[in-house]
Each structure stands twice: as C-alpha cells, then as structure tokens.
Amino acid sequence: MSEVKFNDETLAVVHNLIRRYPEGRHKSALLPILHLAQAEFGGWLSPATMDYVASILNIKPVEVYEVASFYSMYNLNPVGKCILEVCRTSSCWLRGADDVIRHIEKRLNIQVGETTADGMFSLKAVECLGSCGTAPMMQVGKDFHENLTLEKVDELLTQFADEDKHSRYCDANTYRKN
C-alpha cells in the first residue's frame, strides 16, 4: 500500500473536524477521522493507519487501538471492496433476512464473515440498522437498500460487480467546509 497520509483536501477536512471541539478536546475528532482514514486507506484500519491518526491527534497509539476495536464499523483486517451488511435482528428476521443472507451466500459462494476469492465482496450479518419498517434490508457503504427481494438482491449484486463498487461510509464531502 502507498504511504499512509491524507491528501490535502482530506487533511483540510480533518482539521475542520478537529476545530469542532473545544481547545484541548481534539481527541473528540477521533471517530470521524477514523472513518475518513478507513475510507481512504483501503477500507480497513491497519496499525500504520491507526498510528497515523494517533499522530494527527497527538494521542497514544493504544488509545486509537482501544477505540477502533470497540466499534463495529471499523474493520481491523482487510476486507472486500464492497461490503454487504445484511441486518438480521428481529424485524428483519421476521421479514425474511435469513433468506437474503442464504441467497447471497449461495450466489457468491461465501459464508457470512467471508470475502470472495476475487476480493470484490465481503458478507457481514449485522445487528439492527434502524430500517425495520422497510425490512429486509442491507447497507452497502452509506446506502441503505430496503424492502429487499431475492430478485432485487441479484440486480444489486450484478450492478455492484459491474461498476466495481467500493463501499464507503463517508468521504471528504460528507462534512460542510467551514
């Protein structure tokens, strides 16, 4: 992987984010900055990436590791380009989430928690994403795909593969500039 360093545009966003918190409370910006880092540096947080974030915020690397390993949206290991996160908690289960998961497993020939051999897709079964009224659903990057049917899933998978989709939660344009 190339050098772990934000480009100037993202770095400006990072400094903007830090300014959202009072003097001396810059550690507050850790979560949003980790999101940006994950989006920019390969979809996961390598130790080198986390050490870089620690250096930006001038905090101990272990503080970053502690935080990154706590939250479920941070990947601490390499993942596929496109992560399919299928909700499976109560309401989604009631409306057929298990079928969706099984269908994707069969179609991609992977199990939940695995990545396809070509590194394109990772399949994750996740807990409630607040889309219970439009169940079943899956999240891909920041997009919610709701009221899923098996046909719709097929269409989406074809579309993602065709456009070589990288799933990202956020980017430098997520936040307002000032």
Partner: protein, 446 residues
C-alpha cells in the same frame, strides 16, 4: 385523522430544504423563544408534560431544570441520534425528511439551557443522514439561525454533527458522551449525572431527536395547549415505528392514548396483520421491553382496551404489561417462533454489551448460547430455568440499563411463552431450519 405536530408537513415536497421549511412556518419557535427568557422556555416545556421519547420517558422539563449552572462553565446540549433499539427507526425518518425540525428544536432548546455549543451524536450507520444534516445546518447558518448573534439577539450557538461508529451502547447517555469525547463507549458510573458533569465534565443535557423536535410545537402552541393533547401524563404525540408482520410498516405519528387495537388494525396505521393471519404477540416499545401475547397487547389485565400511552402499556407491571419505550412496535403473527425471535434479541445484546461490568459482559453471552442451544434442539428443561435465573441475576446489577434491556425480553418470553420453550426442548424433531446461525465475529477474523 389523528393530530400531527411533528409530521404535519410530511407530504409537503421539499420540506427538507430551508426555503420550504421556512415557508411552512419553520423557525417560528426560535423567534418566539428568543423573545422570552430562557427560564420561561423551560417553564413551557415543564407545563407541556413532555416525556423523553428515547425510551425512558423521563419528564424533559424536569431534566432541563436539573442542569447545573456554575458561573463561567460552558453548558452543552447533545442530541441523542444514536437510534439503535431494534424495532425503532422514527428518528431516522424524522432527520431524513425533516432535518430543519430537529435543528430548530436544538436551537430553541439550547437557548433555554444557555448552551452555546450543541452536538448531534448520530449513529455511524446513518452516514447518509450526516450529509442531510450537514447541508441543513449550513442552510441554517446562512439564514442566520446559527452562529454568532442569532437574529441580532446577542445569543450565539454553534452546532455540529458527530458520527458514531457502530455501538448500540452509545444510546446510553453517558456512553454517548464518552464516545463524543473520542473514547470507547463505556457508560460512566453515576452519579455524577450529565446535568452536573457531562460532556468535558461540563453540565450537559442529552435528549433524544424526537424529544428535541417536540420542543418546537410546544413553544409554538404553549405548554398548556400541548398538555391537552394525549391522555393523562402521556401528553402530546408520539412517533411509532411499526414493523414486523403488518400490512403497512412505517413511522406513524399518533396522539398518545390511541387504542393498540386501532393502531394495529385500522387503515390509517398498520392496516392489519400481513396476509390476514392472526396476531400472536407484540413488542410495543423496542426490543428491550417485554413482549406481550395478543390478548394482553389489546387488553389490559383488567379487560380495558390497551392504549398507546406510557401508563396503559405498563399496566400490570412486568407480569402482564410492558412499556411504551422508544415506540418500536414489532408485530408477530401466529406463525412466529418466539424462541427464534428471542434468539435474535439475545444475540443482539451479546453483540452490543460493552464488556465493562461482569454481569452484562458474561451474562449476555451466556443467554445467547443457551437460547441458541434450545433453538438447536439440544436444550433441556433445566436450561429454561437457568435462562430465567441468569436474566434475574443481570437485572438491576449492572452499571447501565443495557443489562436490564437484555434481561427483560428473556424474562417476558419465558413468562408468556414457556410452553413454546418446552416444546423446543421436548420435541426437537419438530423444529426445522435451525442451522442458520453465525458467529458474529467471523468477519473480523476472516
């Protein structure tokens, strides 16, 4: 049609933009509040009888009045938009479609509390809404509702969105504050409460999205008028997230006091049970609250119609009642396996326990393993009793309410549907399709 206060402009095209929102009378509550003293605004909220819409139902005005006001120490308003309670999606709906309503409520509330900085802590999974809120906040700054010297009154307020990163526990207010400070979402040991030592050890009020939005109609119409809506101590309207086996899932604004039966069966709301099956059970307030079998969902133990209100839903205590909670209304038809549904809950709480205190850390995992074992056809009658005993030893013994939230659904499922657990145990051959079980940590280790 029931009364609409939060979603009254739900069908107005472009209501998510500043211009349309303003045309529809938006930001009037800020104009009105800025002409009042902050204490007067707090007084209106007190009179309204508004109760926290996040789940606990604590009176908002009282929470505000606990806020410590030491000289020279900043105060903060933090909006809890970490909506993660399974079955609940009303805050997402509100923020996505009515971002300015939240921002308006935040400004009015911040003014009432004397806060000059306000944060919206939103769950990371809702990143697309971060975009929406950022845009709306930008518009509000441009229109002079945020920033220095708002509308020439001398009052200043800055507002920021802060994304979480995937942790249900951050819906607990002190865990949320830890997370906002860039730490692990471990709930703090209370006291001190956030009203005294919250964000950055400064006095802080943490309110749910819907609670803050409700401040807008309260200030506009006056607390007394608001209090006339609803029933008894359940004043006003409430957003209900309806999901599961119903014909029309979605977010509905109801006047508190609406009969549960009407909510489930009328065309205006859920439209009845999917495929016209029979109702089996309802989880009326999000995954944490006790499940109620059909008859207790529709009628109180005394045979009165059960109403959508804080009081009526909890009538009968946990023996035969439940809670309004966050308003996450999950409906299950007659084909539903309560044991399997419970397993999704125990798995959820196991996944979401922060791991700080021993009963929750160890107990939630244990409960998941046992429900899975029962589901898998390997359970024994002793396992059912063990499950009961574990939940009993977690409840009330943890640092934060997650322990209770994990224990209650287990207790209620066994209390009302014990025979189903016994069926799984005594006749495992009758259970089909049980192999579908995943290790939640697979992906991390892959």
């Amino acid at each position: 049609m029931g009364k609409k206060l939060l979603l009254q402009h739900d069908n107005v095209p472009g209501i998510d933009t500043y211009e349309v929102y303003r045309q529809q009378g938006g930001y009037a509550s800020v104009e009105k509040a800025l002409k009042m003293t902050s204490d007067e605004v707090v007084e209106e909220v007190k009179k309204s009888g508004l109760r926290g819409r996040g789940g606990a139902g604590f009176p908002t005005g009282m929470k505000w009045s606990f806020l410590a006001k030491p000289e020279g120490v900043p105060r903060y308003l933090v909006c809890n938009a970490d909506e993660s309670e399974p079955g609940t999606f009303k805050d997402r709906y509100l923020m996505q479609r009515h971002p300015h309503l939240l921002i308006e409520g935040m400004i009015t509330a911040s003014y009432a509390l004397g806060a000059n900085t306000a944060y919206i802590y939103i769950r990371g999974e809702y990143f697309y809404i971060v975009n929406i809120l950022e845009k709306a906040i930008e518009e509000a700054y441009t229109a002079g509702w945020l920033g220095d010297n708002i509308q020439g009154t001398g009052y200043s307020l800055n507002m920021y969105v802060h994304p979480g990163a995937g942790a249900y526990i951050c819906g607990e207010e002190t865990a949320l504050l830890e997370s906002l400070e860039g730490k692990r979402g471990n709930p703090r040991i209370k006291p001190p409460f956030p009203a005294v030592k919250g964000l950055y050890a400064c006095p802080t009020v943490v309110n749910n999205v819907e609670t803050i939005a409700a401040v807008v109609p309260i200030v506009n119409m006056g607390g007394d008028e608001y209090a006339k809506i609803g029933i008894g101590k359940s004043t006003g309207t409430k957003l209900i997230s309806a999901s599961g086996h119903i014909k029309k899932p979605g977010v509905y604004e109801i006047e508190l006091g609406l009969p549960v039966e009407e909510f489930i069966y009328s065309e205006e709301y859920c439209g009845g049970i999917l495929n016209d099956k029979k109702l089996k059970a309802v989880v009326p307030g999000g995954s944490s609250v006790p499940v109620l079998p059909a008859e207790l969902s529709l009628k109180t133990p005394t045979g009165e119609p059960r109403l959508m209100s804080y009081e009526s839903l909890s009538e009968g205590g946990f023996i035969s009642g439940s809670m309004l909670g966050s308003g996450g209304f999950i409906v299950m038809d007659e084909t539903t396996s309560i044991v399997r549904n419970l397993h999704t809950f125990t798995r959820f709480y196991h996944h979401e326990s922060c791991g700080q205190c021993s009963p929750c850390r160890e107990g939630t995992g244990w409960m998941e393993k046992i429900t899975h074992k029962i589901l898998d056809g390997h359970g024994t009658l002793a396992d059912i009793d063990l499950l009961w005993d574990i939940q009993r030893k977690i409840e009330g013994n943890t640092i934060c309410p997650l322990g209770d939230a994990a224990a209650w659904p287990v207790a209620a499922a066994i209390r009302h549907f014990r025979e189903e657990f016994e069926e799984y145990v005594s006749n495992p051959a009758s259970i089909v399709d049980v192999k579908h079980y995943y290790n939640i940590h697979n992906l991390v280790e892959a």
